[in-house]
Amino acid sequence: MADATIEMKGGYKLRRRIEMGIVYLALFLLCSIFILPFLITVSDSLKRFHEIYAVPRIWIPKDPQWNNFIDIFRVLPFHLFFINSCIITFFALTGKILSSCIVGYSFARLRWPGRDFLFLVLLSTMMLPQQVTMIPIFLLFNKLGWINTWLPLIVPMWFGVNVFNVFLLRQFFKTIPIDLEDAAKIDGCSYFRILTQIMIPLAKPAVVTLGVLGFVSLWKEFMGPLIYLSDYRLYPIAMGIWMFQTAQSAQPHYVMAASLVSLVPVLILFFSAQRYFVKGIVLSGMKG
């Protein structure tokens, strides 16, 4: 809870200790559940094929197969998939964040005729199932000559087409007090500067969240690359994992090793994004 900074008096201290104890207990219990998939991935990635399905489950393989990690790079150009993923994710994510900020700001803070109606249109694009739009979207990219390039994976992101993000930022921009913006306007600040110097810094946790969620979804994206790409040298890492997972010759130990390799950057990114997950500092100053 947010009151941790407040100094408590005498009798409260014990209560507070108990409360913190409960918090730690809850954190510990939940962590031990939520970390399971990760532990399974790690332990299976170090196994031989037959050990993976052993009953009862083997958690620590007797003879860890570190070779699995070398093997996946040996039998496939996995480093190439990794680099491809980095490039695609970088360009797509940049577009995603920039366009969501700009569009989200317009829908949240600027008043213009037709805004609320268009916002509904924007939201409604999430409501038509992908299964029926997949064919026409494919035909469209084909007409544009974008098949077997990364463009279908990157360009739409620059246009705020991923409305989840626009909606998210709109919600957060709407919570920022109006006073700061008004003051900036009086000082002759342009709308663009208001966005970049007031709105985005104040909504930093939301922008970071968007960045993290966007990164993860782009990094894991499978269906798009599968449909639009055909040269395997252009494939991202999510498809590399599938190359060990076909119905007729599953190699679960390689799948797990490959998953772990693709997981590491996400974990690092997530962990380091924590630094930016702090309160909008300016807000308290404003209210004072």
């Binding site: 947010a2 941790a4 407040i6 730690y24 962590c31 399971l36 998939p37 094929f49 399905y53 052993a54 039998v75 366009s99 317009s106 803070r109 600027l110 008043r111 213009w112 005729p113 509904l120 249109v121 924007l122 409501m127 038509l128 199932p129 299964q131 029926v132 739009t133 997949m134 979207i137 494919f138 739409p156 246009f159 705020g160 087409v161 919600q171 957060f172 921009f173 709407k174 909504a203 946790p205 939301a206 993860v216 894991k220 449909i227 055909s230 395997y232 590399g240 599938w242 076909t246 007729q248 010759s249 797990m256 998953s259 997981l263 974990l267 997530f270 962990f271 997950f277 309160k279 909008g280």
Partner: protein
């Protein structure tokens, strides 16, 4: 010349094909072949490519999906070339069924290159433990039944077997060899009529039924963990499984673990022995130039040449097409597998009866047996229904074929006209609406003129448009067309395997059908609302709770946050492992919990909690799935709440502390109100996603919606309609109905939100 070649498979297949391509290019330096390799969902991708005329020149095909494409004229008929080069190819040396497998209604739509007979794989350790001798080469289905019974054991002594002798069911792959072995058949000779309702076939089906329900030497629904066949065999859960030859290759790669063996298929009561054989082949795209077609044919001839076949044969992956190559290069005495069994299997093997709509046929025959699997129907009842349904599918398909005569799909002028009519009706409707609402619009416009009259306001509006422009442009480019297109489709009848131009306008027929004559839609809607009604509020509450927990100021919170987020990034396989374990009805933790609670109960009363079959029980399937969906609560929703919590100024809490407010009070009066914009966001997103729930059910029960359609969610039904029943028009209409439902609900929530969502930034307006 540049050719493209698309194929599926694992990295091993990629390696093999690259090797074959290199060899070919060495001999033909003027040709380069670009591999187009799909590691997953090849069927979907191939369909998209063929209907949009962007498929590769050479196409890897399986013999089940080939007839559909061949019949629609997508593939070159190789019959003439085959006749011309019969000597080169040494056709006399071809193994039986190989050429046939790519011949549909007289069209040779491809060339086979590798065969997969279904054989019996068994776990030697289990045989030894039970003291049963390994199967003889001339064993019968009756022997099979006896052995299966002997191998079945109850190791933990709870009265229910947990190691099973066999795994036979009413899937196509299992039914076929048994039905054939008993002298029955599924379709007649030329695949035009179902004949599964014969005394012989019924005897075979009854045989499978008895193994399962009388002997209980095959696991009942809920007793098996839904593992893949090789895993069942590997873990000693099942003693004997029928599987395609690829399993041998896989078992060979597995060093260590159990000992295994391969046996031929058993023979039936009248001495008939059959198995199922399938072939992989390569087809040539019919839409490419004759020059390219000729070069593709060269590649096929190269692929079928004895040295290339020998190279492939030595990989042990599949049986080569030539008998001599198979005998010399495929059968390798030094390997632990008896390849000769596969070769024999091809000799006594049969092809599955194919039609142009194979998925639909398979579905029609298998669906009645779903209820046999859980003991609700007898084979006798199911077989009648199966024959009836299969005949309906076959008849519709034949009529269609006779109409089109299998020619190259032509542009359909009626469809074009229908498109213009559709657009016309839409525009006319819009015009009428404008005329009717003109007064309101004018009033609104003059109001707007007043409101945005000032310089400041006009400047703001200008920037509003400017900043919304990226989205609007993107919407017009990437969204508007697909939306319009799917509206047109919803007014048409279109088979998603036909070129897009080949659709027929049916007006509102699809909607009429869906709304008034399709009880399954209502069932699917009910399932979906049931799921969403529980899953949305529960996961909303849970992710808020988790976010608040992660918002406490304790040491190392960054690590906790990262761990909480792990389930949503790991996803896929590891999560499936966990859920299969959690829902395991024999040793899963949920079952153990119930058992230990029963242990406690035993001290007080005779009442016991029932042991639940979870996913396998129609009544528990949805709750299980809801439980499963909560797993995702630690993902995006939690992070967004966490970000929302950061936006609440500390000053509010400080002020409340000075007033001596309790923790609950602070939550209700500060946290919750200031978090409403985030709650609203998560609610809308949860609704949009929850009503389109698809993946969870698809992963757990596959596309058929579980027992009694208890997990048939709306999107699952839509998927089935579109891609198994080939009714894309109807599926599009369904999509728009769902769209309307979600839109209305969203509008409702948006209106309602005005009452409870509080935006700090709007209070002065």
């Amino acid at each position: 010349m540049k050719l493209t070649f698309s194929f599926w498979g694992s990295y091993l297949d990629l390696e093999m094909w690259r090797n074959v391509i290199d060899r070919f290019q060495e001999e033909h330096p003027e040709v380069t072949i670009d591999p187009e390799y799909s590691p997953g969902d090849y069927a979907q991708k191939l369909r998209l490519r063929l209907i949009s005329n962007t498929a590769s020149d050479l196409i890897l095909m399986d013999d089940e999906s080939f007839p559909g494409y061949s019949e629609r004229g997508y593939l070159v008929d190789l019959a003439a070339l085959l006749e011309r080069d019969a000597e080169d190819l040494n056709l006399d040396d071809f193994l039986p069924t190989s050429l046939e497998s790519f011949n549909f209604r007289g069209v040779q739509g491809g060339m086979p290159w590798g065969g997969f007979p279904v054989l019996m794989f068994y776990n030697k350790d289990m045989f030894d433990a039970a003291g049963v001798p390994y199967p003889e080469d001339d064993w019968t289905w009756e022997d099979f039944r006896v052995i299966a019974r002997k191998l079945t054991r109850d190791t933990d002594g709870n009265g229910v077997p947990d190691e099973f002798g066999a795994n036979v069911g009413f899937g196509f792959l299992d039914m076929e060899p048994v039905i054939w072995g008993f002298g029955g058949d599924i379709l007649n000779e030329d695949s035009t009529r179902a004949v599964i309702d014969s005394p012989e076939a019924l005897e075979a089906l009854q045989f499978i039924y008895d193994i399962k329900f009388e002997d209980h030497s095959t696991a009942w629904m809920g007793e098996s963990e839904g593992m893949a066949k090789e895993v069942e065999l590997l873990t000693g859960k099942v003693g004997m499984v029928m599987s395609g030859w690829y399993l041998a290759r896989q078992l060979m790669d597995i060093k260590g673990g159990m000992r295994w063996g391969i046996a031929p298929m058993p023979s039936g009561p009248r001495g008939d022995r059959y198995t199922r054989v399938s072939w992989d082949g390569i087809s040539i795209n019919n839409a490419i130039s004759d020059e390219k077609k000729a070069m593709c044919w060269e590649f096929l001839k190269f692929l079928l040449r004895e040295d290339t076949q020998a190279f492939i044969a030595e990989l042990g992956r599949s049986v080569p097409v030539h008998r001599t190559v198979a005998e010399e290069h495929f059968v390798q005495p030094e390997t632990p597998v008896q390849e000769e069994l596969a070769l024999e299997g091809i000799d006594y093997g049969k092809l599955t009866p194919v039609t142009a709509k194979y998925d639909q046929l398979k579905n029609a025959i298998q669906r009645p047996f779903k209820e046999v699997e859980i003991g609700l129907k007898t084979p006798e009842e199911a077989v009648k229904l199966a024959e009836q349904d299969a005949n309906a599918v076959l008849q519709a398909e034949l009529e269609r074929w006779l109409l089109s005569q299998g020619g190259v799909p032509k542009e359909n002028p009626a469809a074009k006209r229908a498109f213009s009519i559709g657009i016309g009706v839409f525009l006319a409707g819009l015009a009428v609406l404008l005329v009717l609402l003109r007064k309101r619009i004018f009033r609104r416009l003059s109001l707007a003129r007043q409101e945005y009259g000032g310089n400041m306001a006009r400047n703001e509006a200008f920037h509003g448009y400017l900043f919304a422009l990226p989205w609007f442009t993107g919407f017009m480019i990437f969204m508007a067309y697909p939306f319009l297109f799917s509206i047109v489709l919803s007014l048409s009848s279109w088979d998603p395997y036909d070129p897009v131009s080949q659709r027929t306008f049916v007006g509102f027929e699809n909607f009429r059908q869906a709304l008034f004559h399709d009880p399954l839609i209502w069932k699917a809607l009910w399932n979906t609302f049931y799921f969403a009604g529980f899953a949305i509020p529960l996961s909303l509450g849970l992710s808020l709770g988790l976010a608040m927990l992660l918002n406490t100021k304790v040491k190392g919170i960054g690590i906790y946050r990262t761990i909480f987020y792990i389930p949503s990034i790991v996803g896929g396989v590891a999560t499936a492992v966990i859920w299969a374990y959690i829902f395991n009805p024999t040793f899963g933790p949920l079952t153990n919990l119930i058992r230990s609670m029963n242990g406690v109960l035993a001290n007080f009363t005779a009442a016991r909690l029932p042991e639940i079959q979870w996913i396998a029980d129609p009544a528990m399937a949805k709750p299980s799935l809801i439980l499963m969906s909560l797993w995702g609560a630690g993902g995006g929703g939690m992070l967004i709440f966490l970000a929302g919590l950061q936006g609440i100024p500390d000053t509010y809490y400080e002020a409340a502390d000075i007033d001596g407010a309790s923790r609950m009070r602070k939550f209700w009066n500060i946290t919750l109100p200031l978090l409403t914009p985030t709650i609203y966001f998560n609610l809308i997103i949860g609704m949009v996603n929850g009503l389109q729930v698809f993946m969870e059910a698809f992963v757990m029960v596959g596309k058929d919606g579980g027992i009694d359609n208890s997990l048939l969610f709306y999107m699952l039904y839509l998927y089935r309609t579109a891609f198994i029943e080939y009714r894309m028009g109807y599926a599009s209409a369904m999509a728009w109905i769902l769209f309307a439902i979600i839109l209305v609900l969203t509008l409702f929530v948006a209106r309602w939100s005005a009452l409870w969502v509080y935006y700090e930034g709007e209070k002065k307006r």
